[in-house]
C-alpha cells in the first residue's frame, strides 16, 4: 500500500561510501562524512546507528509531505503517508536495530521540537501505539542560542536509564542532525547504553553542493519498502 500511494515520490536513501555521508546520507563529494556530521564527531557519545526511511526533497512532494503532516492544519494525506512509513518501519525493521546492537530495544523516545512547543509532538501518538519498550520522556529547553548545535543541554531526560538500556530515538526530519545528536547526548547523560536513531526523512535541497544532480538521478528510483533503513540493503 505504501508503494501504491507514495512509491512514485518517496526515495530510499542511498548508502554508498564517499557518495553519501556515512551518518546522514546526504550527498558528499568523496568524503566519509558531510561537513555537519564531521563537525558533530568532535563529540563523544553520538548515535550508535542511524536509519532513514526516505529522502524529503524541498519543492517536491516528499518535502511537501514532511511539512504538511505537522502544519497548523495538518494535511490528512500527509499524516497518513508519514504514519504508514513509520508503521512499516516499526513493524518490519525494529528488530534490525536490535540485531545490529546485539541487544533488545528497551525504550523509545521522540526528539521534541526545539525550542519547546506546547502541543504534543505529531509523531508521539503514532509511535506510542507501536514502539517496543517504555517511553523515555525528553523535554526541550525553552530556548536555545544555537538550536542546530550539538549540545546535551538542549534536552532533558525525565528518567534514569539502566546499564542494559537500548533506546530507539525517533525524529521526523534530519536537516543538520544537531537536534537528534543533542537528544542522543541527553539520553547518554541519563545512562543510555545504546541509542539507535530512526529518522523518517533526510531533508535535501537542490541548491546545495552537488545535490541537483544527485536528486535528478533519484527521479526514477521508486520507493522500495523492503530495503532495510538501517543497512540500505537486506536486513541484518
Amino acid at each position: 500500500m505504501l508503494s501504491a500511494i507514495a512509491g512514485g515520490y518517496l526515495r530510499n536513501p542511498v548508502r554508498a561510501r564517499q557518495v553519501t555521508c556515512a551518518d546522514c546520507l546526504t550527498p558528499v563529494d568523496g568524503y566519509e562524512l558531510c561537513f555537519a556530521c564531521n563537525s558533530h564527531h568532535a563529540r563523544e557519545g553520538l548515535a550508535d546507528a542511524i536509519a532513514f526511511l526516505t529522502y524529503a526533497i524541498a519543492g517536491q512532494k516528499s518535502g511537501h509531505v514532511m511539512r504538511g503532516y505537522k502544519a497548523p492544519a495538518p494535511i490528512t494525506e500527509h499524516q497518513q503517508v508519514v504514519a504508514l512509513l513509520l508503521l512499516v518501519a516499526l513493524e518490519n525493521h525494529a528488530r534490525c536495530a536490535e540485531a545490529l546492537a546485539g541487544m533488545p530495544v528497551t525504550h523509545w523516545a521522540i526528539v521534541p521540537s526545539l525550542p519547546a512547543k506546547p502541543s504534543a509532538h505529531p509523531l508521539r501518538s503514532l509511535v506510542a501505539e507501536r514502539a517496543r519498550g517504555i517511553e523515555v520522556p525528553l523535554t526541550a529547553a525553552p530556548s536555545a542560542e544555537l538550536p542546530r548545535a550539538v549540545n546535551a543541554d538542549h534536552f532533558t531526560c525525565g528518567a534514569q536509564l539502566h546499564k542494559q538500556s537500548h533506546v530507539l530515538l525517533i525524529d521526523d526530519t534530519w536537516a543538520t542532525g544537531g537536534h537528534v545528536q543533542s537528544a542522543v547526548l541527553a539520553l547518554r547523560k541519563a545512562g543510555a547504553a545504546r541509542v539507535s536513531v530512526l529518522v523518517v526523512a533526510r531533508w535535501l535541497k537542490e541548491d546545495y553542493g552537488g545535490n541537483r544532480k544527485f536528486i535528478a538521478d533519484l527521479a526514477n528510483r521508486d520507493y522500495d519498502s523492503g530495503i532495510c533503513p538501517w543497512t540500505g540493503t537486506d536486513c541484518p
Binding site: 501504491a4 512509491g7 512514485g8 504508514l84
Partner: protein, 311 residues
Amino acid sequence: MASRAGGPYAGVMISGSFGEHAAAVALLRAQPDGLSWPEIAAELLETGSAAEVWDRHAPAPALISLPDEVTPDSVAGDLQSWQARGYRLLSILDDDYPSRLRGVQQAPPVVFTRGCVIADDPAVSVVGSREASAGGLAMAADVARALTARHMTVIAGLARGIDTAAHRAALDAGGRTVAVIGTGIGRVYPAENRGLQEEIADRGLVLSQFWPDAPPQKHTFLMRNATMSGYGLATAVIEAGETSGARAQARMAVEHGRQVILADQVVARNEWARQLVGRPGVHTANSVDDVMDIVEQVVAMWDNLGRLVTP
C-alpha cells in the same frame, strides 16, 4: 490582521475570511521578497494565516502612498468585483479548498470557482486527446457514466475531444463533473465550449487557479493538469498521443502518489505509456469494467488507510 488605513477601500472592513483572502491576493500580486507562488502556498500552510505571511514579508509602506502599491486594502475592490461577477475565491487555508489538492506540491495558493464546491470530492480525471477517435470518445463517455453510477465525480479539463465527451456524459447521466480550466474563470477556451462551461457552473464545478481574466497559454494548461491530478484519486487516460497534456498529467500523477489508469490502447501506441507501466500506482485497463475495478481498489485503499491511521 494589520489594516493599513487610508486606501481607497478604507471604509471596508478588512478582517475575517475577507481579510485573509485580501492578504493572500496581495501576496500573490506583490510577491514580496521575490516569493514564487508555490513558496507563498507553502508559507500559508506552514503559518496557517495569510495575514501573518503578509505581515512577515510586506514591503515597508512608501512615505507617499503610490497609486500602484499592492496591499490587502488595495486589492479589496478586486475581491468585491470578483464576488459581484459570481466568482468565489478559495485560499489553500479555507476549509472548503479541495482537500486532496492541498496534498500536492503544486497546490495553487488560491482558486476561483463557480458552482458547487465539495472539499472531500471523490473524483477521477478522465483525460485524453483533443483529436480523439469515435472509440475513444465512446469509452470516455462510458467511463464517465460508470463513475456517475458509482456516485463519483468526473474531472476533466474542458478541452475538445475526450474531456468534452467525459463532461457531457456525466452531465447527461445526472452526475457531477468538475472542469479544471486552463484560463481565468472569466474566460472560455475553446470558445465552442462556452455553453458547456456555463452548464457545468450551474450543475457541477468550474475551477481555475489563474487570475479571472488570464488568457490560455501553454504553461497554464500544464499547471491545470497538475491541479486535475491533485484534485482526484486517480487519472484515467483514455486515448492519447506522444505530446498530449494527458501524458504530462500521468507523469505528474505518479509523482503525486495518485493512481494512473492507462487504457490498453494508450499503452499499445505510446512509448511514454509503456515506460510508466510498472511504476507505483500505474494500472492498465482494457475495458470500462477494468477501469471501475481499479477505481474500487483505490477507494478501498484510502478507506483502509483512514481506518489504520486516525489522524
